[in-house]
């Protein structure tokens, strides 16, 4: 059996003078891969490239062995793709069912009975089975987010690209969605970007950290978390030696430093600690090099 895969070789993307992605090399297999990075790091651009919504300015992208630059192969990719963009607008007056049904039509589900059953299945998966006939404009932000996720799940695609799927979704539904995605990832490639490190820690085997268009870290979540071992400690005051520190709910300060410390009260490191240690979450202004090309 051939394992489904996505590969990127020296992929870059520019918008005018701004470089959004540069020199990205990746190989993705079935499983859940999390994409972390500060705003403007290039996460959405990378996901749009994978979803064939944007062509790269340079480099080579292959999705399931197909070249998105070739129109027939691009269509082949789109037949096996689910994509949830970061922001989805909905046509005026549409209900949740009508919207997902409309996307299902564009995905070539022309037989009404099968299409309606599939629409119900994906609405059930995202916990909207009772809200199919509700107008999207009357829905909460989290419910709208789940409608946009439902359309991506149509047909249980081999490739699922999700841009911040859990933003605005309540904790109970996030747990449900993690279960759905974990089940799908047994056979599908799932790539999701998020600012929620706990989603990545709970769901992803692999994490990619992007920073200013470049891959800063690519590896197992546990390895990234392990990088923070010995570098996270609790204290009664913020430690000046720490790179980041903040007051926790207990009134004590959680400090993260670049050096391993022995003379402190260590805390169990989390993925968020490791991410902050890596420099994530603190976007820096674009340098001249980024804007030059």
């Amino acid at each position: 059996m051939v394992t489904a895969s996505i590969s990127l070789r020296d992929v870059g993307r520019t918008f005018g003078a701004t470089r959004a992605l540069a020199g990205v090399d990746l190989d993705l297999k079935p499983g859940v891969t999390g994409l972390l990075g500060p705003n403007g790091a290039g996460k959405t651009t990378l996901l749009r490239l994978l979803a064939t919504a944007l062509p790269p300015s340079q480099g080579q992208v292959r999705v399931l062995g197909l070249d998105p630059e070739v129109p027939a192969e691009r269509t082949g990719i789109r037949r096996q793709l689910g994509y949830q963009p970061q922001e989805v607008g909905f046509p005026r007056g549409f209900t949740a069912f009508a919207f997902v049904d409309y996307i299902a039509l564009l995905k070539e589900w022309s037989q009404p009975a099968a299409r309606h059953a599939e629409v119900r299945r994906v609405l059930d998966l995202v916990g909207l089975s009772d809200l199919g006939s509700k107008r999207i404009r009357a829905m909460s932000g989290g419910q709208r987010r789940r409608v946009s996720l439902a359309q991506a799940l149509l047909g249980s695609p081999p490739v699922l690209i999700l841009d911040e799927p859990t933003t605005g979704v309540d904790p109970e539904q996030r747990v449900t969605l993690r279960t759905v995605l974990a089940e799908l990832a047994r056979t599908s490639i799932v790539v999701l970007s998020t600012h929620q490190t706990e989603d990545v820690a709970a769901l992803c085997e692999r994490v990619i950290v992007l920073d200013r268009g470049r891959v800063r870290y690519d590896g197992p979540v546990t390895d990234l978390t392990g990088q923070a071992a010995g570098r996270v400690w609790l204290a009664d005051e913020p430690d000046p030696a720490a790179k980041v520190s903040w007051r926790t709910g207990t009134g004590r300060y959680r400090n993260i430093g670049t050096r391993v410390r022995d003379d402190v009260e260590h805390a169990e490191p989390s993925l968020e600690d490791a991410y902050l240690l890596l420099g994530g979450g603190s976007p820096e202004p674009e340098t001249a090099e980024e804007v030059a090309s």
């Binding site: 963009p85 046509p91 005026r92 549409f94 919207f99 070539e108």
Partner: protein, 277 residues
């Protein structure tokens, strides 16, 4: 083996679990030793199972009645015109088919046609200025990203962008052209038809230009140029008949042919996410 068997009513009650505790225990005791009755129970259970499946189908139909959106007036019109149901839905979703938009277009056309009907030369010029730009604006609105909030998820589906755009264009023109022709009937003289070829040319220009820029921007640019040209012509000659000259009309036809060819050649550039979003 025994000579006594479960009668039909008792068997049905047993299968449907509507029997009493004592009756059920008796039936089970009998079934342990009676092969024919066990076979009858299996057969009856499968009938019950099938009725459950039918019940599920009924439930699906009920949900369909509640959840599946009813086709809009335009969708029904398109289906009536012979377009298959799935494609009629894809076409009718376009913003160009929104009632508010169509009422606005109709109001502008009514104003222009009434002005022309009053018999003043300026009124006729006004109709000639407005009528050709209406179809291109409506076509642009049928697939412009700005008026299509769900562009990004639509874009990555396998449905061909070219087919969607052409279907929406044809549907919009099938609606707009007869409407403008109808308004044109109140315009005196042959000017009532002078707008037709310019309109076809402008629609083709918008299609071609939308492979570079957003369709609505293209339509606004074409409309602005046309309004300026009409204003200049009106100021110079004062006669709308000049647009009817064979040479001018042939020019619009050539413009339409050239633009449509460019559109087809550059069709791969259609409906992509661009910096304008």
């Amino acid at each position: 083996m025994t000579a006594w068997h479960l009668d039909d009513d008792a068997l049905r009650r047993y299968v449907e679990r509507t029997d009493s505790l004592a009756e059920g225990a008796s039936a089970e005791q009998h079934l342990l030793s009676c092969e024919p009755c066990r076979a009858r129970v299996t057969a009856a259970a499968s009938v019950i199972e099938r009725s459950v499946i039918d019940f599920a189908a009924v439930w699906d139909r009920t949900r369909d009645a509640v959840e599946v959106p009813r086709p809009s007036v335009f969708e029904r019109l398109l289906r009536g015109a012979g377009l298959p149901a799935p494609e009629a839905r894809l076409v009718a979703v376009a913003s160009a088919f929104r009632s508010v938009w169509l009422v606005g277009v109709a109001a502008v056309l009514t104003f222009a046609a009434l002005a022309a009907a009053l018999g003043h030369a300026r009124g006729v010029w006004l109709f000639l200025a407005v009528a050709p730009v209406v179809p291109c604006l409506v076509v642009a609105s049928s697939y412009d990203p700005w008026m299509d909030p769900a562009l990004e998820p639509e874009l990555v589906t396998p449905y061909p962008a070219l087919r969607l755009i052409l279907l929406r264009t044809i549907a919009v023109l099938a609606l707009a052209l007869p409407a403008v022709l109808l308004f044109g009937l109140v315009v005196p003289g042959e000017t009532a038809f002078a707008w037709l070829l310019p309109a076809v040319g402008f629609v083709a220009v918008v299609l071609a230009a939308s492979t570079w820029i957003s369709p609505l921007r293209a339509a606004i640019a074409v409309s602005t140029v046309w309004l300026a040209a009409v204003w200049l012509l009106a100021a110079r000659s004062g006669s709308p008949e000049s647009v009817l000259q064979a040479r001018v009309q042939a020019g619009f036809l050539a413009l339409a042919a050239a633009s449509f060819s460019i559109f087809l050649i550059r069709r791969r550039q259609l409906r992509q996410l661009r910096p304008w979003r």
